[in-house]
């Protein structure tokens, strides 16, 4: 569904990412992880050309992304990021409706779509439709952000640390809601996170980046059991240690 072929991003002389080859199958959720500066966000943004690759080719649904104008491409691809970026002068419904509106859907279809999406992200449409972004909690805002990304029925969804700014219980609820929605809709997802637990829980496959290079890509279990090198092993050492500590605590406590 998504293919990156020899993709590079340069800033002047500096090579920030690549050359990179990566494929995401239809319906698959690929997590990009790595430390800060590893190029995971840049890689994600090259998929919908928020950042234009310097070299190489990106295909989405078989189509070279350079063949479409940027806005047209982005209307077909959902995008949701940590800072949400809800339009403060729009209501919740207007925020969700923005891409359908750009695509010229008629008002009735948009209204129905907005209500359906709000229900999917577990916000009561009647209560939330007319609210302004400043009246929402962080978790509610991110739910609206997710609804907005899904509004134009995209097949591909790009997420950049969408839950990173939320408190743990909210993050947990949203992760579960998201996992349910993406199965339901059969979405192809690229998901950037530095939270390895989140990566392990959500991913079909994980790609580890370091200094703009792909270090290893594979199923979570594979990366845990057969890390390609010390960097990958190091990356997964922390969640493993935490899981073991939790296990010990559970075993020691009287049931």
């Amino acid at each position: 569904m998504i293919a990156l072929e020899r993709v590079c991003k340069r800033y002047g002389e500096r090579l920030a990412v690549g050359p990179l080859d990566l494929e995401v199958a239809r319906g698959e959720l690929l997590v990009l992880c790595g430390g800060s500066g590893s190029g995971k966000t840049t890689t994600l943004k090259m998929v919908n050309r928020l950042i234009a690759p310097s070299e190489g080719r990106v295909r989405v649904g078989g189509l070279d992304t350079r063949e479409l104008p940027g806005p047209t491409l982005r209307r077909r691809i959902g995008y949701c990021f940590q800072h949400v970026g809800l339009f403060p002068h729009f209501s919740v419904a207007e925020n969700v409706a923005v891409t359908p509106k750009l695509l010229g859907w008629d008002a009735a279809r948009i209204a129905a779509r907005v209500d359906a999406l709000l229900e999917q992200v577990e916000l009561e449409p009647a209560a939330f439709r007319e609210r302004r972004p400043h009246e929402l909690s962080g978790g509610q805002a991110q739910r609206v952000g997710l609804a907005r990304a899904l509004a134009a029925e995209p097949e591909v969804l790009l997420l950049d640390e969408p839950f990173a700014a939320l408190d743990p219980p909210t993050r947990d609820r949203l992760q579960q809601a998201f996992a349910r929605i993406r199965r339901l809709l059969g979405l192809t997802v690229v998901f950037v996170t530095h939270d390895l637990v989140e990566a392990l829980l959500l991913a079909d496959r994980i790609a580890v980046l370091d200094a703009g290079q792909l270090v290893q890509v594979g199923a979570p279990a594979e990366l845990m059991q057969r890390p390609a090198d010390a960097r990958v092993a190091e990356l997964f050492a922390t969640p493993r240690r935490q899981a073991e500590a939790v296990d010990r605590l559970l075993a020691a406590s009287p049931a």
């Binding site: 940027g70 800072h83 970026g85 339009f87 002068h89 750009l102 907005r148």
Partner: protein
């Protein structure tokens, strides 16, 4: 004090002219600065330079900017005239140009700041949802920057409405007409009406813009419609009234005047004579001295009273000792006709010369009756003068020929000079010899014993157009030759400055007297 009612009768005309000038300047200013601001917000490299230029414009004192606009437009006018587009170098256009330039900075700066202030996350989201550059600008950036841009617009509106009062000396009608003529003729009611009306206009416009912005931002229909209706009504009254205003017909005779009492009285007298001759007079009051002459020679006004010495020194740029009074007039006459086609219609019969005056009845007056006797004492004395005097050739000639070195030289409004010397705030003033208050306030005019100051016969000038096209009117006005002596002029001036009567009223009396 000539009555408040008389001043209020002038208010609608002046207020509408004022509002029209301000609104058009604001539209032009916003039309330049909002697009420029949008352009700059995307080009950070250009931003400091352009904002710097706009800031520099703002630091030019507004009166100077207005004055600079006159020669600027005259130069542009000379170019445009060649391709057959005549523009007027005085009046509305220079005022509009200066005010529009003046309104640029606040709107420009706030447009740039407003756009920069839009949250980066919102901008990223706007791109990510698939908005084009134009959609991002119109649907996201401008709406979010709007409150800041409107704040700039409000600042500009208040500035422009206030500064428009200064457009009177370049010949544009505004509420400044009240203030300039009121200050010159010591008419407090006029000054008050001008100040209160311009302040009210500024606050009203500011309030309407704010209400409109509030309505748009909060989506409250009542505010939006109320404010929009208010602004629309304002524009309708302002511009609608233009449609009904009689366009300046060929029969209309424009009479200019400078910014001191006798000029207002003489302009009113001329207006009566023009009316009597079957033409329609239009007063263009309170012009700067050179603005007035330039307007006359370019046919933008038709009649103007000037003084031979002024022409001699500032138009002909002659230095050195002036010839005798009776020799100056023919020289000036010939020069104006040859050089500009300006006709000297007649000499009115009095001289209004620059003079130095001191207080009567003090130690100083016992010893000093001539300027040469004043010179050795000058390092202890303070001189008060009008704005022009210290820049004029006459002053340089006086200073150098007599060796005057005053302790202090202060410029002030001509209306305040007599008071300043009478109350001892300065010791010597540059006076006008026809100022009726000199005698009334017991001031002594010092004798120019070395004959440095050129003669200042008041002469009536006609524009080249008037001289050519209206010989009948010129002939009728020529009957004013020698009609007004210095005593009469002084009495008339005192009637305005001392007794607080209006120039129009005094001119009526003078007119009756002359017939």
């Amino acid at each position: 004090m000539s009555g408040l009612q008389e001043q209020l009768a002038l208010l609608p005309g002046y207020a509408i002219a004022h509002l029209q000038l301000s609104l058009v300047a604001l539209f032009v200013g916003a039309g330049i600065s909002i697009p420029l601001g949008i352009y700059l917000a995307r080009r950070p490299r250009l931003e400091p330079g352009v904002l710097g230029v706009a800031s520099a414009l703002q630091t030019i004192p507004s009166l100077a900017l207005l004055a600079i606009a006159v020669p600027l437009l005259a130069a542009a006018g000379a170019l445009l005239a060649r391709v057959g587009v005549p523009i007027r170098g005085i009046g509305y256009l220079p005022a509009l140009l200066a005010l529009a330039l003046y309104s640029v900075l606040p709107i420009l700066r706030n447009t740039v700041a407003g756009l920069h202030g839009v949250d980066a996350a919102v901008l990223e989201a706007a791109r990510a949802v698939g908005m084009t550059k134009r959609q991002r600008l119109l649907q996201v950036e401008l709406p979010l920057a709007l409150p800041v841009i409107v704040a700039g617009l409000r600042t500009s509106a208040v500035w422009v409405v206030g500064t428009a009062t200064l457009s009177t000396p370049v010949g544009a009608t505004s509420l400044g007409n009240f203030i300039f003529s009121g200050l010159a003729t010591r008419n407090d009611a006029a000054v008050l009406v001008g100040c209160v009306a311009s302040a009210a206009l500024a606050l009203g416009l500011d309030g309407l813009i704010r209400a409109l912005e509030r309505g748009v931002r909060t989506g409250q229909r009542a505010w939006t419609f109320g404010a929009a209706a208010g602004l629309a009504l304002l524009c309708l009254v302002t511009f609608g009234s233009l449609a009904f205003t009689r366009r300046a017909g060929p029969e209309e005779i424009a009479i200019g005047s400078k910014v001191f009492t006798e000029q207002y009285v003489l302009a009113e007298l001329l207006a009566r004579r023009v009316t009597a001759a079957g033409y329609t007079p239009r007063l263009v009051p309170s012009l700067g001295s050179t603005v007035g002459f330039d307007a006359l020679r370019n046919d933008e006004i038709d009649l103007f009273v000037d003084y031979t010495g002024t022409i001699w020194a500032t138009i002909m740029h002659r230095d050195g000792l002036p010839p005798r009074r009776e020799d100056v007039l023919p020289v000036v006459k010939r020069y104006l006709a040859d050089e500009y086609g300006v006709r000297v219609v007649c000499a009115l019969g009095f001289e209004n010369t620059y003079a130095l005056a001191i207080r009567e009845g003090e130690a100083l007056t016992d010893r000093v009756r001539k300027i040469s006797e004043l010179a050795p004492l000058s390092p202890q004395l303070a001189l008060g003068s009008d704005y022009e005097f210290l820049q004029r050739a006459e002053w340089r000639a006086l200073r150098d020929r007599y060796g005057l070195r005053f302790r202090e030289e202060r410029s002030m409004d001509p209306a305040l000079m007599v008071q300043a010397v009478a109350t001892g705030q300065v010791d010597v003033i540059s006076a006008f010899s026809t100022d009726g208050r000199l005698a009334a306030e017991r001031l002594v005019v010092l004798e120019d014993d070395r004959g440095v100051i050129p003669p200042y016969d008041a002469i009536l000038l006609a524009s080249p157009r008037l001289a050519k096209e209206r010989p009948d009117l010129v002939a009728r006005l020529a009957t004013l030759e020698g009609a007004i002596d210095a005593d009469t002029m002084r009495r008339m001036n005192l009637a305005v400055d001392g007794a607080g009567r209006s120039p129009a009223e005094v001119a009526r009396e003078l007119d009756a007297q002359l017939r």
